[in-house]
Symmetry: C2
Subunit: 206 residues, 2 copies
C-alpha cells in the first residue's frame, strides 16, 4: 500500500482505538445505558465521526466486552502448558485474576453489564456464560488440586466462594475508593495462602 494510504490507515486505527477507550471509560462510569453521544463527548469527536467507526452503541459494547474477555485470565489458562499440575494452573489463574484487578475498569464494566437492563440480552447471556465457565474452571482446578495434594483440603465450594468474595471486594473497593486503591493493593500471594495446603513437617522429621 502506498505511503499515504498507510498513514491514513494508521490514523483510522488510532481514531478507532481512541473512541473505544473513551467508550470504556463512559461505560464503566455510566453502565451500559450510556449513549453514543456520551461516548462522542468523552472522546471529543463529533457524533457523526463516532458513527463512521461504529454503526451502533451495541457494536461498541460488544467490542469492549470482547476485549474484557481477552484480558481475562481464562484465555490465558487455556494456553497454559497442559502438562502443568492443577495446583500450578490454579496459582497462575488466581494470580492473573488478582493482578488484573489492578486495572479494575474491565471488571467494573462486566459487573455492570451483568446487572443492567440496558445490556442487550444476547450480550448479557454471553457475559453470564463466560463468568460461569471461569468459575467452573477454578472449581475444577480446586478439586483436582485437592486430589493431588497441592490445594488445602475442605469444601471446594467454600474455597471458591472465599476467592470470589476477595475478587468482588477488590472490584468494589476500586469503585468506592479509587484514590487509595492502588497504594495498598494486596499481593496475589496473600490470597493464594487461602488455597495452599498447610505445611507438613519435613520428611526428615518423620
Amino acid at each position: 500500500m502506498p505511503r499515504s494510504e498507510e498513514a491514513k490507515q494508521r490514523l483510522r486505527d488510532e481514531q478507532r482505538t481512541h473512541i473505544l477507550e473513551a467508550a470504556r471509560r463512559v461505560f464503566a462510569r455510566k453502565g451500559p445505558a450510556a449513549t453514543m453521544d456520551d461516548i462522542a463527548t468523552e472522546a471529543s469527536v463529533s457524533h457523526g465521526l463516532a458513527y463512521r467507526y461504529f454503526t451502533s452503541k451495541d457494536i461498541i459494547l460488544h467490542t469492549i466486552a470482547e476485549q474484557a474477555f481477552q484480558a481475562n485470565p481464562l484465555t490465558m489458562v487455556q494456553e497454559l502448558d497442559k502438562t502443568k499440575t492443577p495446583g500450578e494452573r490454579l496459582r497462575v489463574l488466581l494470580t492473573g485474576l488478582i493482578e488484573s484487578r489492578r486495572h479494575p475498569e474491565y471488571h467494573q464494566l462486566l459487573d455492570r453489564m451483568r446487572n443492567s437492563e440496558a445490556t442487550p440480552e444476547e450480550l448479557r447471556e454471553l457475559v453470564h456464560k463466560r463468568a460461569h465457565a471461569l468459575r467452573g474452571v477454578i472449581r475444577q482446578s480446586i478439586v483436582e488440586g485437592q486430589a493431588s495434594g497441592e490445594i488445602v483440603a475442605g469444601d471446594p465450594d467454600q474455597l471458591l466462594r472465599a476467592i470470589y468474595a476477595c475478587l468482588d471486594g477488590l472490584t468494589h473497593w476500586a469503585e468506592y475508593y479509587p484514590e487509595e486503591y492502588i497504594e495498598h493493593f494486596p499481593a496475589a500471594e496473600i490470597f493464594w495462602r487461602m488455597l495452599k495446603p498447610e505445611s507438613v513437617p519435613e520428611q526428615s522429621s518423620r
Copy 2:
C-alpha cells in the same frame, strides 16, 4: 408493677421490637431514604402507631445503627481478656467479622448509611468514625502480631486491605445472590490462613 401493667409493658416492648425489625429490613432494602410510611407498611401497623413508639425516622435510624455497632466484633474485642496475645485477639476479631456476615443485614445497612446523602450528617460521621476505629484496631493487631511472630510478615496495609476486600465481597455477595449466600458460606478459617505465618519445619528436622 401489677400484673396487667406488666403485660401491657411486655406488649409495648414487643411492638417496639417488631417495628425496629421491620425498619431494619426496609432500611437495608431502600437505604436511609426510606420513610416512616415504608416502615409502618412493612410492620403492618398504622403510621400513627409507629410515631407513638418513635418520634422520627432519624431516631429509628440511630437506634438501628447502635444495634449494628453492638453486633460488631469491636465491642466484643474490647471485652477480650487483655492478657491474650495480639495474634489471638486478631483471630477472634477476624472470626467475629466473618461470622457476622452470615447475617449481612447490619453490614449492608451500615454500608448504605455511609454512602447515602439521606443519612443525617451526625450519624454518617459516627458510622465513619466507628469503621475507622475498627480498621485501626485490626491494623494495630496485625503489626503487634507480626512483632510477636503470630502473624505472617509483609506490608500490614496490604494484609489489612486483603481482609477488607473479603469482608466487603461477602457483604456484596449477600446483596446480589441472597439465595445462594448461606449455602456455601466460607469458614472463617479459610480467611485466617491469609494472616497465619508460614509453618516452619519442626524443630526435630533441624
